[in-house]
């Protein structure tokens, strides 16, 4: 999906990405024609429910899709001027972790239980940075201090099970930023954390971003994280981006019925809501998508045209696009 013209070239540009999986029910179009841009220092939120394709988009960007059953059918992912999909596996492993890094949801499973924190933090540094062996540990300590790990000198010899959940997620964050990536993707980074620990972690990510100028992508289902952290939002449904815009446009003028319904279905802490709007039905099955708009069956504004043809993106405002026939 297109975005507003700005003088600055985007750091990351994803165009018409399609990632399909072969399953016993047929071909699942997990990501089906996704395009977006990310500028330097910008935070983009990719919002969607399970099965919307947000995590597969992220895995495609990291080239971590298991092939087979998956395959990236078409598209380009341009990071810092090179198309990641054209790189060989060994070239890609030089990019992965250094130019584009990932923080995944569950710090319990993303750290290896049999290696020390120090070992795991230094791994990326050893692989990607050409610095003398002696200074690798110093560099690791520096990164751990950056993510506010208290007593980093002794923690560096600990194993993951000796740390609390919040602390572990900080270590994962430290690994993510250890090579100063251009783009850091955070896939639901705080869902397993407690509320007050989540607040600490989000503040940390924002501070790190301000310091280094990296771009952030938040993959989330939580509009609260989007409201707090993001500059722009892309809303995904059934493998496609249905609406993209600045965070204020999306919250103030949601133009796709799905975005509108999602926002209305979230309870608010600040006010009494008598009854929440509930979206009827379930998301469609990805191996059996309807002709036309995938949201048609759940949409309160559905028209005949919606069931015949998938809507193109229509501009709502500058930098705000929505794929809905109502805007035609």
């Amino acid at each position: 999906m297109a975005t507003a013209n700005t003088s600055e070239a985007p750091v990351l540009k994803v165009e018409n990405l399609r990632t399909y999986f072969r399953t016993r029910w047929g071909e699942v179009k997990a990501v089906d024609g996704v395009s977006f841009e990310l500028r330097k220092g910008e935070t983009l939120g990719i919002v969607g429910e399970s099965g919307s394709g947000k995590s597969v988009t992220m895995l495609s960007m990291m080239r971590l899709i298991p092939i087979p059953p998956g395959r990236i059918v078409e598209g380009t992912i341009t990071l810092d001027g090179e198309d990641l999909l054209q790189l060989s596996e060994s070239e890609m492993s030089k990019v992965r972790g250094s130019k584009i890094a990932l923080i995944i949801q569950d710090p319990m499973t993303s750290l290896n239980p049999v290696f020390t924190i120090g070992n795991q933090v230094t791994e990326a540094i050893r692989i990607h940075q050409d610095i003398p062996k002696r200074s690798v540990m110093e560099k690791a300590l520096e990164v751990l201090r950056k993510v506010n790990i208290p007593a980093a000198e002794s923690r560096i010899r600990d194993y993951p099970h000796q740390l609390s959940g919040g602390m572990r997620q900080r270590v994962v964050g430290a690994i993510g930023i250890s090579c100063q990536p251009l783009v850091l993707i955070a896939d639901e980074p705080t869902t397993s954390l407690d509320v007050t620990i989540q607040a600490q972690y989000l503040k940390l990510l924002r501070d790190l971003q301000q310091e280094s100028g990296m771009s952030l992508i938040f993959i989330t289902h939580d509009f609260g994280i989007v409201a707090k952290m993001c500059d722009r939002v892309a809303v995904m449904y059934a493998g496609k981006i249905v609406e993209v815009g600045s965070v204020r446009d999306i919250f103030n003028k949601p133009s796709h019925p799905y975005t509108e319904a999602l926002l209305a279905s979230v309870p608010k802490m600040e006010e009494d809501v008598d009854r929440l709007y509930a979206i009827e039905g379930q998301p469609p099955l990805l191996h059996d998508l309807p002709v036309g708009c995938s949201f048609a069956d759940r949409c309160p504004y559905v028209m005949d045209r919606c069931r015949e043809e998938y809507p193109p993106e229509f501009p709502v405002d500058e930098g705000h696009y929505s794929a809905c026939w109502r805007l035609a």
Binding site: Q200, A227, K228, R248, L262, K268, M269, R275
Partner: protein
């Protein structure tokens, strides 16, 4: 700790059906295998009192390790309290005879967080929902079948679902099944342990609305355990905020959200995610993490993380005081 007795004078109070007084649950920590010695106690719940009124929802909010699940387990009689008592319709359930306990158990039911692990994958839906009735009620097969179909309809499913297995349902539908099963014995109280947090955003509203509808239809009370404050605001009539085994603040929902008093409640609210990018939030970011319940801090348990800490907080345990009618707080600031 004094017992909060909620007595507001508006004359619209519903009767209290369950009351917990000074509930405590200590888990012994042992050392050694053959000659095990008790070296300490984890004070999972340490003097908790609350009331649940007919047809109302009490929310229990707190972070992991605050004791909310242990409290719920004691209400469900799955854990024996170390001290304190639970009164159901004025009767102490832990003093009751076997018949009384059995009746209590069938009138207090539970819906758990994860509908993927809380339903037996080898049972058909009709057997899952019928199981509590088969155990507790002497009903004939056709009667049970009729009731199962009625319950399925009640939670928004259809009669053909009765012959399917749980894996054939989506998360939201499974949670509906769990609710139907909990409703089967016409309970007076349902303990809801994070009932929507495992579901997708668009499904959460469906389930929350269903729970609210069932409450007004059956006049059932809920004890809702949640960490998401907006969910609590939407669902609850009363809210208890727990920290390290103690209730630090208890108030009617509107009062608590409009006028939070305890510094921990304020911090929780400021840490909660906003519902709009322009929402202005007071930024109170607590430093550190929740201390271990094995060795909680002296005095007020919250004082090492409290931004308003005073001298006495580190050695005097604050009393629970009723600041305004029905608004109880344990803090030296008040």
């Amino acid at each position: 700790m004094t017992t909060p007795v909620t007595t507001s004078g508006n004359g619209q109070d519903r009767p209290v059906i369950l009351e917990a007084r000074n509930l405590k649950k200590y888990f012994p920590v042992t050392r050694g295998i053959v000659l095990a010695r008790v070296t300490g106690y984890i004070k999972a719940v340490d003097g908790v009192s609350f009331q649940i009124r007919a047809g109302e929802t009490l929310g229990i909010v707190g972070e992991s390790g605050c004791g909310k699940t242990t409290t719920a387990k004691m209400v469900l009689m799955l854990e024996q309290p170390t001290e304190g008592s639970i009164y159901y319709n004025g009767q102490d359930i832990y003093q009751a005879d076997e018949a009384g306990r059995k009746e209590y158990r069938s009138s207090v039911q539970a819906v758990f967080q994860d509908p993927w692990s809380s339903l037996n994958p080898r049972m058909r839906v009709k057997d899952l929902i019928a199981e509590p009735m088969v155990i507790n009620w002497q009903l004939s097969k056709p009667e049970i079948r009729e009731r199962v179909l009625e319950l399925l309809q009640e939670v928004g499913l259809s009669s053909y679902h009765a012959n399917l297995y749980p894996h054939e349902f989506s998360g939201g539908q499974r949670q509906r099944l769990a609710i139907a099963r909990a409703l089967s014995l016409n309970p007076k109280i349902i303990v809801l342990d994070e009932p929507v947090s495992a579901l997708d955003v668009s499904i959460r509203a469906q389930i929350m609305n269903l729970l609210k509808d069932l409450q007004s239809e059956y006049n059932v009370s809920y004890m809702l355990i949640a960490h998401h404050l907006a969910t609590v605001r939407y669902m609850c009539h009363w809210v208890a905020v727990m920290y390290l085994g103690q209730v630090v603040e208890l108030a009617p929902v509107k009062e608590l959200f409009d006028n939070p008093l305890h510094p921990y409640t304020k911090a929780l609210m400021s840490a909660a995610l906003p519902s709009h990018p322009d929402t202005e939030q007071e930024e109170i970011i607590l430093t550190g993490e929740v201390p271990s319940p094995l060795n909680p801090p002296e005095g007020c348990h919250f004082h090492p993380r409290c931004p308003f800490v005073m001298d006495q907080c580190s050695h005097v345990i604050p009393e629970t005081k009723e600041i305004t009618p029905n608004h109880w707080v344990s803090c030296h600031l008040y």
